[in-house]
Symmetry: C2
Subunit: 399 residues, 2 copies
């Protein structure tokens, strides 16, 4: 039958990244494609203990309808946690969301009218582009270097696009590049947001998973005018399956989010909120995050060493100090989708760079994930990929 969809619905069902992730599910493929945390570190037993305690102590409340803003116990814990990012706030200025993805959706719904501009890093998190697009956004991508989004380009874009509603940034260990925005640029970003009266959506899923270098204060902590909305999540520091994210914003803005949240799904899963609050009460989540950071550091170092060994000498890599991704640029490769197809034949996978660009993809780029692959397979996988790249370059198959 012929459905009469809204203009928000993409004409095609083709999902290039979904297709990639399907191809790489085969167990004999060494996949650096996904963006999953290491499941062997999920504190399954501690979560079981926390759950048993929650159901015993307040089962009826945890299974009943709850508040759209999120349970106070969890919002208190979040208010404490964001102090680590330099944010001094109260539980009233926090809303719990069904994962960070929901915050992106609600932000789009609240701010974006068809034709509004959203400024994003180039490249950026592709599901953010998808969701803002569903509200009719146009995109302006801002070039990055090793210090993150370039502020001169940002200012130019802001002056050329006064209809800009939102600047979306992932300042720590960005997806897909692994890059971190310098303190100077964060200060400048906050000043520009104020000057051009534009909201900044600061998405910080990876910041707590730092294994090298020094912590950089969040953009939100540098904001004195209320232009920054801060997003966090338990997905990378505890478990993504429970879909628990949060936002920090001024109270009047939180009220709008609550209203839209109620329309979207009434409230976030109460049982999961109680479980995570109880976990944080019973156990030391910072100790747990140290375990994660230390494993990811080991994997990142292994991958970096293998890249040095097996990739062509002119391959340019980001050197992440945390998070889950390395970004690779090999300018001689013009078509990383063709490279992907060759790599799959050798049972190794990555994500080609193109889908991460809202516009003007840079050829020869791709993303490698190191958090989700065991150490013994990292060297082997990069060795295979290096061979695919060298062979392809020789045969000029990916020009």
């Amino acid at each position: 039958m012929n459905y009469h969809f809204s203009s928000r619905v993409p004409k095609t069902d083709i999902d290039p990244v979904g297709n990639i992730l399907k191809v790489v599910e085969s167990p004999d493929i060494i996949s650096f494609a996904g963006g999953l945390p290491a499941p062997e570190l999920f504190p399954v037993k501690q979560i079981a203990q926390a759950t048993a305690k929650v159901l015993n102590e307040c089962g009826q409340v945890a299974l009943q309808y709850g508040s759209s803003q999120g349970i106070p116990e969890l919002r208190k814990i979040i208010a404490e946690r964001v102090k680590l990012e330099g944010i001094d706030t109260s539980p009233d200025h926090i809303m719990v969301a069904t994962g960070s993805q929901q915050t992106l959706d609600l932000t789009g719904k609240i701010f974006i009218d068809p034709g509004d501009t959203v400024i994003v890093e180039s490249p950026t998190y592709l599901c953010a582009v998808d969701v803002f697009k569903s509200y009719g956004a146009n995109f302006v991508g801002i070039d990055m270097d090793d210090d993150g989004m370039r502020m001169d380009h940002l200012e130019q874009a802001l002056s050329e696009h006064p209809e800009t509603k939102l600047i979306y940034t992932i300042p720590n260990f960005q997806n897909p590049t692994g890059r971190t925005m310098s303190l100077d640029r964060r200060k400048k970003l906050s000043v520009l947001a104020d000057k051009y009266d534009v909201m900044v959506l600061e998405d910080n899923p990876y910041g707590a998973v730092r294994f090298a270098g020094e912590n950089v204060p969040s953009v939100k902590s540098l904001d004195s005018t209320g232009h920054v909305i801060y997003m966090g999540t338990f997905s990378k520091i505890l478990a993504p399956g429970m879909r628990l994210g949060w936002i920090v914003a001024d109270e009047s803005l939180i009220n709008k989010y609550k209203m839209m949240k109620q329309s979207a799904d009434l409230h976030t899963d109460s049982l999961s909120q109680y479980i995570i609050a109880k976990y944080c009460e019973l156990f030391d989540i910072d100790e747990h995050i140290k375990l994660i950071s230390s494993l990811y550091q080991k994997r990142e170092q292994l991958m970096m060493a293998a890249i040095q060994k097996y990739f062509p000498k002119n391959a340019k890599c980001s050197y992440p100090e945390g998070g889950m991704f390395i970004w690779v640029e090999i300018p001689e490769i013009k078509d990383t989708q063709a490279l992907f197809d060759l790599a799959i034949k050798q049972r190794v996978a990555f994500v080609p760079g193109e889908p991460f660009y809202s516009e003007h993809p840079k050829p020869g780029t791709f993303r490698l994930n190191y958090s989700n692959m065991s150490e013994d397979k990292i060297e082997e996988g990069i060795k295979r990929l290096g061979k695919v790249i060298q062979t392809a370059l020789l045969a000029q198959e990916v020009y």
Copy 2:
């Protein structure tokens, strides 16, 4: 600060029903206002057992990112359950959602462009009106009688509004009226949907909680052309706090829902999906539903008997055969908000009818909930309310 919101955001923060629900939270108020299931029936211990088993057997998978469509184990169970509604489908045609509310949101996103018409029952579930409004819908409300939405009025509306995108109906024990649509009207609805090429969104949260009369086949089971999207939920038959709903639709449509679901929150809480699937494997959910139905029947009968005793003789009530609500009409009362204010002084509460109407509210109507109040308080609460009504009518305070 002055935010530049999208045109979707309501200008006001005033939430009349939210305000009502806040007022009635006080423990000395006998509240028939909310729409909550009875928490004393939540199978807390069984859910604890199921959770322990899930975390022990597949903890890492249950805590990891999962499929946007929902876990296959749960979709299989849902495919079996909807057979009770006459629906013969497969897990491929089912998507799990973050509660029924999310299905409403995704349906709005997929079908409604600003200016499109949505046809609703008059009165209807108010959060459905809110969410469709956020996508720019205009509403046409169709009168109901004891057999549900009037099909002659529906056909007239369809012929007058060719821009109609959606007919939204709650055919069983409707919220707020408690009424059930007759089989003849369901057949007619399916024929009209086909004739005018309009989608029907059939929302069935209460259908399984039937304590009198005979089951009526779902509209979906009468649909041969793919015009009906069917919604169900575990909120009223197990526990709402875990936010688990589902839709049944043709596969090509499910693909669009999956795409929008991924934008909205990636996927529904995996842990909760595994817990409910395990609960259904270990325990007999139909036996549990019988317990719920039997308690609600007792409460409904008590409330009906008290209404006969204490309300004015010309009070007209719906006689629900299941679900959670009784609808009252007392034509002499012109202002049920004023009646609400008087009732609160006597420590008893209900929800005035007005917010349930998308247009042209019918004066003198209000909703009573019987599922969430203990038996000993039902008679006392209705007695108080009866006295408030009688006094107010005598004093002409609510004319």
